[in-house]
Symmetry: C2
Subunit: 270 residues, 2 copies
Amino acid sequence: MLFTDKLRAAQARANSWLCVGLDTDIAKIPAALRERDDAVVAFNRAIVEATGDVVCAYKPNLAFYLARGRAGMDALADTVAAIPRDIPVILDAKFGDIESSSQGYARFAFEVLGVDAVTVSPYLGADALAPFLAYEGRAIFVLAHTSNPSAQALQDAVVDGEPLYVRVARMAAALDGKAEAGLVVGATFPNQLRNVRQANPAAVFLIPGIGAQGGSLEETVAFGANAAGVGPVINASRSILYASGGDDYADAARAAAIKMRDEINLKRKT
Amino acid sequence: MLFTDKLRAAQARANSWLCVGLDTDIAKIPAALRERDDAVVAFNRAIVEATGDVVCAYKPNLAFYLARGRAGMDALADTVAAIPRDIPVILDAKFGDIESSSQGYARFAFEVLGVDAVTVSPYLGADALAPFLAYEGRAIFVLAHTSNPSAQALQDAVVDGEPLYVRVARMAAALDGKAEAGLVVGATFPNQLRNVRQANPAAVFLIPGIGAQGGSLEETVAFGANAAGVGPVINASRSILYASGGDDYADAARAAAIKMRDEINLKRKT
């Protein structure tokens, strides 16, 4: 089964293009929960239980778990294990290293954690991505244009008449392997999002920047789906995880996820 | 104390610009050791004891430890803890994410592990690097030109009349923070190494690609030191770690490290 097939089924089942980013910061979870040894996992588990029928994917970001050392890494493994198998999990790690190191990162993501996809950086070129592409049924999401303010410094530099991020989008289209190659395109740069879709009609998009970062939902929906009709994975983290700071955090997260899913779906119909 | 001061002292003490990359692959360490629960740490400890007076730094690569899950992450922490405090440790992780995630990676590197420096990717621009630069006495090494075969696909793309890696070298020179910003330049691309030095005379260089990857020692030595006379950190991993596959691995690693240090020093004098 291709990653795309799993994603497509999850999108249809939940009628949703929404992904919840499990970027759990222990300082931001409800005080009552914070005392527990397994605070982060308990929080994530409650979020997954409250939103599982509303999302098409989950995306934990490695940084939030590494920052807490061994406890954090255990929490990451336990979080991935708690997500139902039919919901794709994307590890956001932006890996990018030479081949022998990429093999280690691929093993960590696809064998140790057992996630379905991982984000990767294009800066080292294609050979750095090859080890990830050896895994059948999995996917990489190559950073094309990111959502942060200084993204443009390098990504929008013009090379042979086209911006670097467009070259990356074409490079991803030419990758060859058993795994699939999607692209990361931030919703905070709507023109770039459209240009990436033009340069790579086939790639599945992972789109951060909606929610707390204030990205545009119009372009996200208009250019998000690929030529085969697979919708984008539209990520929101803080606006859902911390919709309430109180004991009703799971209910509040569910309500925020439903609201965002429906906002996306409303745009899909117009 | 600046990172540069610590590095300079280590270089003077060992009369060495050599760094040993602790990219320990459990499949490649001597069979007798492999049976032990703490095989990787025992191997690394023996390597550090055998080479500590011959090197100016150690550089563990995160991928090799993450690939082994919890045991690997424990081994990484124990390895860093076993390195004498006066020898700089550079975590090779090529982190590059938006600011809130970079904060997590910086905390992992500088607080959880307590390393002196970390490698980072420039693809997201300056704001992704800011959290690392908040740490006084530490350093980042920004990827300018890497040592792998497909490095040129993006890094040598010409932007406004100059290659992208040169733009990165200038970007690193303009970074502002409490930590210092060095550059990663692979020895396998000698012309690029020279161009990076011209674009950024002040940066300390971390130079992989010597040893198993076959990079050029001439240019590494000729353009490696910065304007203040701080030498480059010249990394070799496999050629030293696996100099012997037998029980004499530590002695063989020491001999290989001395040989490489002396080869570097011979070039420094000519």
